[in-house]
């Protein structure tokens, strides 16, 4: 069992559709991060959420941290082919920033 469970594992949608991906845990995190990884490259940080119930927006991407700080979601509005990639959530148990744990990721494909 992984510390951070992501769903769905794969998602294929048409351009213009909306989608939500989830990151869940039975553990409480002081903060969670979302990264996006494109083929052949390393992950790149999108956002860090630190307060329970917090909502952060990054253009068409909306990130939410659960009230209990055990889960997070990423919502994309009007998806575009450029959004295609692997979305990873990450957190550090016991607030030890040197011990980052990643979820298995959601692989998103947006078709034109």
């Amino acid at each position: 069992t992984q510390l951070l469970e992501q769903s769905p594992q794969f998602l294929s949608i048409q351009e213009g559709e909306n989608l939500t991906v989830y990151c869940n845990s039975s553990s409480v995190f002081s903060s969670l991060q979302w990264y996006r990884q494109e083929p052949g490259e390393g992950p790149v940080l999108l956002v860090t959420v630190v307060t329970g119930g917090e909502v952060k927006k990054l253009k068409r991407l909306t990130f939410q941290f659960g009230d209990a700080r055990k889960d997070s979601s990423l919502h994309i509005t009007a998806a575009q082919p450029g959004d295609t990639g692997l979305y990873l959530c990450a957190g550090a148990p016991h607030n030890n920033g040197n011990d980052m744990r990643f979820g298995a990721g959601t692989r998103l494909t947006v078709k034109p």
Binding site: Q33, G42, T48, N95, N98, M100, R101, A104
Partner: protein, 116 residues
């Protein structure tokens, strides 16, 4: 300039060989990491170094040994390579924020290791 660089980008080698992957960061960060990403894209931490001291050492075979000559470099040496070592290895760095939360992890481009 590339913030986190790794060499080589591709590495194809025979089972039983010894190989090294080099990593350098020019961000002035005090913590560096090695991650392994398998064929299913699962990214797992292997080692974490802070100021040249090993902080995290996940359950990896002792054939893997990180070496940090200075704060800007963290190399990964692998002895007696096995087929199951084939994966993409990512180096990363971050600034330790202590109990102030998670710092941003900056990843290198990855080293694609194939053991034949």
């Amino acid at each position: 300039d590339t913030a986190v660089s790794q060499t080589p980008k591709y590495l194809v080698t025979q089972m039983g060989n010894d190989k090294s992957i080099k990593c350098e960061q020019n961000l002035g960060h005090d913590t560096m990491y090695w991650y392994k990403q398998d064929s299913k894209k699962f990214l797992k931490i292997m080692f974490s170094y802070n100021n040249k001291e090993l902080i995290i050492n996940e359950t990896v075979p002792n054939r893997f040994s990180p070496k940090s000559p200075d704060k800007a470099h963290l190399n990964l040496h692998i002895n007696s390579l096995e087929l199951g070592d084939s994966a993409v290895y990512f180096c990363a760095s971050s600034q330790d924020l202590g109990n102030r939360g998670l710092g941003t992890q900056y990843f290198g481009p990855g080293t694609r290791l194939l053991v034949l």
